[in-house]
């Protein structure tokens, strides 16, 4: 019979299954959260790019403007360079758009008439800087302009939210990585204490310090790699199960993309990260507790 280190490590894991399960679950949850945040961040980046690549400004007009004023506004807008498209949305058109958007909810459309909806101009440009100039210029015309919705504001708001989500995810993941590290470190310490006789005998028989540390270090690597692997796989399955509904909600933006080379690479990177967490925690644990 050949006593391999892996067999010895698996033997250690089997001897204390609940402790091992705790270590595995901590790494698993850590990577489940990490992966979920990665996909949310990817989705938010898609939303951002969508708005960034579709420079548009909407100028809502005040009620009661005459035809000549509206035409004057359209003429002024057309005078700007790099304009791609100017669309006038009259009150009637706004009503039909509103009804189309809420066709499944008659309560929302029953009481709404064209008179309460503002007319507007939707302006898109090849150069987003032009939109900035238009926004500044029309903001000053309070007698004809009711409100201006500029994509830059939406992008700014999205950027703020993305930043908040990214920062919280980094903080949350760091906390979980630290917990996973400490759990493995403590667990390895406990296992070494439980097996001190075995270690002492092995040392007396000529085993080097590294030889007796190896099964414990390998144990940490196993928790790290398996925990990260299943963390990825489970989060991946959940995310891809929700893909259609999430993408429908965000349409026309694709929030969750189809499988690409990114996912296998991400899986590899996460397994390496898991191995690193397990290896460093168990290595330090073995170094700290095996002194003889």
């Amino acid at each position: 019979m050949n006593m391999k280190i892996l067999n010895l490590t698996l033997h250690h894991i089997r001897r204390s299954p609940f402790q091992s399960l705790v270590a595995f679950l901590t790494v698993f949850i850590c990577f489940l959260i990490l992966n979920s945040f990665i996909f949310v961040n990817r989705g938010l980046s898609s939303v951002l790019s969508y708005f960034e690549t579709k420079p548009e400004i909407t100028i809502f007009l005040k009620d009661g403007l005459d035809e000549a004023t509206v035409q004057a506004v359209q003429k002024e807008l057309a005078g700007y360079p790099d304009i791609k498209e100017i669309r006038y949305i009259s009150k009637d058109k706004a009503l039909s758009l509103y009804k189309e958007m809420n066709k499944d909810n008659p309560l929302l459309t029953e009481m709404v008439t064209a008179s309460i909806l503002p007319a507007s101009f939707e302006v898109s440009a090849y150069n987003p800087k032009v939109l900035e100039v238009i926004a500044q210029s029309f903001s000053a015309k309070s007698q004809i302009v009711d409100e201006i919705i500029y994509q830059k504001d939406i992008i700014q708001s999205l950027l703020t939210w993305t930043q908040v989500i990214r920062t919280s995810s980094i903080v949350l993941i760091s906390i979980f990585v630290l917990i996973a590290f400490l759990v493995i470190f403590t667990l390895i310490g406990m296992k070494i204490t439980n097996r001190k006789d075995e270690i002492r005998i092995s040392r007396l028989l000529g085993a080097s310090k590294f030889y007796v540390k190896k099964p414990f270090i390998l144990e940490g690597i196993i928790y790290g790699s398996i925990g990260s692997f299943f963390g990825f796989i489970i989060s991946f399955l959940i995310i891809y199960n929700l893909r259609d509904s999430v993408n429908f909600f965000f349409q026309p933006i694709t929030f969750i993309y189809a499988l690409t080379i990114f996912e296998p690479l991400l899986l590899l990177a996460e397994i390496f990260a898991g191995i690193f967490i397990g290896l460093s925690a168990s290595w330090l644990g073995a170094r700290r507790y095996i002194k003889w």
Binding site: M1, N2, M3, E198, I201, L204, A207, S208, Y211
Partner: protein, 220 residues
């Protein structure tokens, strides 16, 4: 492997076990270490294994002083050349007898291809063929002693340190063990250092004897 004690003193607190002990064990020697309880027989074994350190003096293994070895791996290397039969067996309770032997073969990096046959060989040698799959807690004192012997023999050591190896054996098995050790000593020139209280062995066999006194030693 040559083992030399040069003016070795070992104290446990106020109790002096040896004072300026000098002894030399040549490669291929068969040596009995005897003396009353507390005379330091087990201490002598522990000193050779570098399990404990002397208060003063040097222990030289093949000319290298254990307490002056700078590279700690050297001690591991020396231990890998020594087969030990501990008084309290020191078998790993979680592993079967077979696995205990496999572990030491792995520690000494015994050739993979020969491990299984070596385990079978030593298990037959100590007559544990029907017990090798059992755990230490499932064996009697005598069987544990033989399992410990099998583990020590498995690595084909240069030296066998046997601390009271016949203590838990009936006279027949005790003599069988002595015969095994004698054969190994004769066939492979393995140095045997055995502590014992049993004067029958010492008187019946014409071997070198180191007698330890309560607080002094005598080298014969």
């Amino acid at each position: 492997m040559e083992i030399v004690f040069e003016k070795v003193t070992k104290n446990y607190g106020p109790i002096s076990v040896f004072k300026d002990l000098n002894l030399k064990i040549e490669p291929g020697d068969f040596v009995f270490i005897t003396g009353p309880s507390g005379s330091g027989k087990s201490t002598l074994i522990k000193l050779i294994l570098n399990q404990i350190k002397p208060n003063s003096g040097d222990i030289l293994i093949d000319g290298k002083a254990l307490n002056h070895l700078k590279n700690k791996n050297e001690i591991d290397k020396i231990r890998r050349k020594i087969g030990v039969i501990f008084q309290d067996y020191q078998l790993i309770n979680d592993l079967t007898i077979e696995e205990n032997i496999a572990l030491i073969l792995d520690i000494v990096n015994y050739p993979n291809a020969k491990r299984l046959s070596r385990i079978d060989e030593v298990i037959k040698m100590v007559k544990l063929q029907h017990r090798h799959f059992l755990f230490p807690s499932q064996l009697s004192g005598g069987e544990l002693q033989r399992a410990s012997l099998a583990r020590a023999l498995s690595i084909e050591p240069e030296v066998i340190l046997a601390d009271e190896p016949t203590g838990n054996l009936d006279p027949t098995n005790a003599w069988n063990l002595i015969k095994i050790l004698q054969n190994i000593n004769k066939k492979y020139k393995t140095t045997i250092i055995m502590t014992t209280h049993n004067m029958d062995f010492i008187e019946s066999l014409d071997k070198k004897v180191i007698k330890l006194g309560k607080s002094e030693h005598e080298n014969t």
